[in-house]
Amino acid sequence: MNTTPKAKSVFIGSLRNNPDLDKWIVIEPDGVIQIQSGKIEIGQGLRTALAMVAAEELDIDLSRVRMQMADTELTADEQVTSGSKSMESSATALRYAAAECRAIMLAKAAENMGVDVDSLIVEDGTIKSPATNAQTTYWDVMGGEKFGQKATGTVSPKPASAHRIVGTEPERVDIPWRVFGPGEGIGDALFMHDMERPNMLHGRIIRPTHQGSRLESVDPSALEAMPGVVKIVKNGSFLGLIAEREDQAIKAAEALAEAANWTAGEPLPNEEQIYDWMVSQDTIDNGVIDGAHIKDAPVEAPPPKNAALTLEGMYGKPYILHGAMGPACAIAQFKGDALTLWTHSQGVFPLRRALAPVLELKEENIHCIHRDGAGCYGHNSADDVALDAALLAREADGRPVRVQWTRKDEHRWEPFGTAMVCGARASLDADGQIIDWRFDIWSGMHGNRPKFHKEQTALLAASHMDTHWKPQPFIAAVADEAGEHRNASPGYDLPVCNIAKHFVANHPFRTSSLRGLGAFANVFAIESMMDELAHASGQDTVAFRLRHLSDPRARAVLEETAGAIKWDPKSWTPGNAQGIAYARYKNFAAYCAVAVDITIDEATGVITVNHAVVAGDAGEAVAPNGIKAQLEGGVIQATSWTLKERVRFDPGSITSTDWETYPILSFRESPEVDAIVISKKGDPFLGVGEASQSPTAGAIANAVFNATGARLREMPFTPERVRAMLVEAGKR
C-alpha cells in the first residue's frame, strides 16, 4: 500500500516543513516529556494550549509536560508567531508528531513485551498490556534516546470524542510565574527583561529625536568622569554605550545624549491633516474585481442603473503604537565568531537570517534563544534591540551585554501601525439589498519584518550605521488578505465587490505589522457603511447584516452577540445606545461579532463603553478560557485604539513620547466584557488572537450614531471630535 499520497494530502501544519520528530518531542529521563515548538508565548496562552494538545495525544498528564518554545538550536523553524496562525500550524504539527511518537513507542513496547501493539493501552505514560499484565513506560522504552526519524504524518490523532484534556479549562502554566515572581523551573517563561547572565554589562543606545537625523558629532569627554562606563560605541549614526551597572548606563546615556549633535531631521506632514495627506500622495495601485487581482486600481464605475440608494463615506485610522508595557530588551554575547542572543523577537529564525549579513557572521554561528516579552501585538522593536545588543556586545570582549530601550525610545522608534484611509461606496436596490460595492484603501506598509538581504534591512541600527545598508523598501501587499488587503473584502454575500488599493510608499515613519494589520481600518469602514446603508433604508442593522450572510457560522456569532447584549433599538435614548459589528478575521480565520453599550456625555464629548459582548467561533476550542481572554483583550485594546490612540507629531519630531502624550485606556475606563466561545469538536483550528479588534471599532462607531444620529469617521473618537461632530449635526 502506498501511503505517501495520502500523507501529502493531510494537513499536518509545520510538521510538513520540519519533519524531524526530535525537534518536537523529547522523552526526558525524569518522567517528563519536553514538548517543543518554533512558536512563542506572547501572552495568548499558546504555551499552555500546545502543552494540552501534546499531552492529549501522548496520553500523559499535563503536569508531565515541559514546554520549550522557539530556539534556533532546538526547535523547528516556524517562522514568526503572528497572523493568528499558531494553533493551525504548531498545534496541528504537535498533534501529528505526538500521535506518531506515541505509536513508535507503543511499537517498541509491543516488541519488547511480545504482544500485539493494538492490545496496549497508555495511562499517563505507562504502557499496559491488559492481556499479560505486563507494563512499561515511555521513559523505559526510550531509555533517554532520541527518536532519530522523520514524521510520516500517517498516524492519525485521536478522534475529538476521545479528548480528555483538549476543551477543558486548566490554568495557564505560566501565570503563576507572573503572580509569584520568577523562580526555579521557570525556563523560557522568564521575561527577557528579568534575565541575568554572569559578568553582564548594561548598554543603552542614544537615538536621535528626529526622523532622518544623522549624527554630526559627539563629544565623549562628558563621560570620562562617570563611574562604570566601559565603552562608547559609535558606528556612523549608531551611538551606544556600555557600563557595569544599569543605573550607571542610564546616567551615562543622558550625558551622552546631551553631548551628541544631530542634523535636522526630515519635515513631517501635518498631523491634523494626515488623512488628506494620505490621499494626496503618489501611490502604487492595484485592485481586486470580484476576487480576481488586477494590476491597476479598477476605474471607479458609476453606480448601477437599478440602484435606489447610493452612499459614500471616507474613514480614517491614524498611526498607532504597539506600545508594549515592557520596552524592548535583549542580551547578546560573543564567543569569537559565535553570537548568542536572548531575545523576545516574534521570529528567532528570521531574526538570525537577517542578522547574519549585518553582523557579517555565518547564520549557523548565531544562536537565538527566545524568552518571553511583554505583549508585543506585532512587529515592534524586539528585533531592533537584538541588533543593538549584538553591536555593543561585539565591543565587550566576550562579556554579555544587556540593552534596554526606554519608554521614549519605544514610542519614537518602534515600527508603527500605519495610518489608513478607506473610502466605501455602496448601492442598494429598491428591496434594500446591496447590489454594488466599491472600496478604496490608502495605506502604508504593514508587514516589514526582518529578512535576509545583502543590502536591505528592517533593523533600525543597521540603517543608522555607516555602511551600505538601506532600509527595507516599503512594498505594497498584493496577496489576498495580506497587509492592507486584510478584510478588505466585506464578509458578506455581495454580488459585486471592487477593491482599489492605493499604496503610499513614501512614508515619514517606519511602519510594520500591528495586530490585525489592515483589518482594523477596513472593518471599521465596512461595518460603519453597513450601518449607514441599513439606517438610510429603514432596516434594523442586525437584520440587514443577516440578509447578506448565508454562512451559518457567521450568522451564529452575530445572533449570539445580539441576543447576549439584548439588542433592542427601542431601548436607545439620546446619549445612550448599542452598536454592533461583525467580521470573519482574514475571511478565513475566526468568526467574530462585537456589540457595545455606550454612553456619550454631550457636554464633554467623552464616550464611555459600559459593556461589550463578543462572540467568537475559533473552530474546536483547545483552551476555551484562552480564547475568551483573546476575545476580551482584543475588545479592550481596540476600544483604546478607537477612543484614544494616535501617534502625535509636530513638523520636526514625534511628540507622543510617553503615556501622558499617548494615553491608553485605563482601569477607570475599561468596559465590562462578556466573551462567548462557540466551538464544535473536530472543527479545524481558526486563528482568534486578532479576531475581536476590528469589529470593535465598527460597533463603537455604530453605537455613537445610534446614540446621537451623527457619525464619526475619523479615529480616534476623542472628546474634541465628538463635540465637533455634535455641533456639526446641530446637536450642541
Binding site: I175, W177, V179, F180, R245, E246, G375, F667, R668
Partner: protein, 155 residues
C-alpha cells in the same frame, strides 16, 4: 559617589553600595535579584514598578535609594509564595487575570496597598485604586474581578 545603604526588603535587611540617587527599582532588581518589579516607563505613568513602602504604594522607578533606608519595603516576592500565597495571588490565578503578565506584579502591589487602606472597596474604588497602573493586553476585566475576589476572601 557610591555610599553604603541598609534596606529592609520583605522583612530582611540588605546592605548595598550605590549612588544615593539610584532608583529603588534598579537596586531591587539588580543588587537584590528581586525581579518582579518591572521597568515600564521610568516616569510613574504605568505602575509596573510598584512596590509598597511603609504601607503605601511607591513607584520604585522614581524613588531614590536614600529616601527608603529605614523603611519597610515589600515586593511581590514578599507578598506570598506558591506554598503560602497571598489572597491576591490566589485570586489572580483563579481568575486567570493576566495575559503577557508584565503589568501583573505592579498591579498586585497596587491592589495590596488599596486593600490595606480599604478592605471593602466597591468596583468604583477598585478602578480608582488601579488608575495609575496600565495594562496593554486588555486583561482589565479579569484583574478587577480578581481584586474583588481577593477583597472578599480577606474579609
Amino acid at each position: 559617589m557610591a555610599e553604603k545603604f541598609t534596606l529592609r526588603v520583605n522583612g530582611a535587611e540588605h546592605s548595598v553600595t550605590v549612588e544615593p540617587d539610584t532608583p529603588l527599582l534598579y537596586v531591587l532588581r539588580n543588587d537584590l535579584g528581586l525581579k518582579s518589579a518591572k521597568y515600564g516607563c521610568g516616569e510613574e505613568q504605568c505602575g509596573a514598578c510598584s512596590v509598597i513602602v511603609d504601607g503605601e504604594r511607591a513607584f520604585s522607578c522614581s524613588v531614590p535609594i536614600n529616601e527608603v533606608t529605614g523603611k519597610d519595603i515589600t515586593t511581590l516576592e514578599g507578598l506570598g509564595t506558591k506554598n503560602a500565597p497571598h489572597a491576591l495571588q490566589t485570586a489572580f490565578i483563579e481568575e486567570q487575570a493576566a495575559q503577557c503578565g508584565y503589568c501583573t506584579s505592579g498591579i498586585i502591589m497596587a491592589a495590596k496597598a488599596l486593600l490595606d487602606a480599604n478592605p471593602d472597596p466597591d468596583m468604583d474604588a477598585i478602578r480608582t485604586g488601579l488608575q495609575d497602573n496600565l495594562c496593554r493586553c486588555g486583561a482589565h476585566g479579569r484583574v478587577l474581578k480578581a481584586v474583588q475576589r481577593a477583597a472578599k476572601a480577606l474579609r
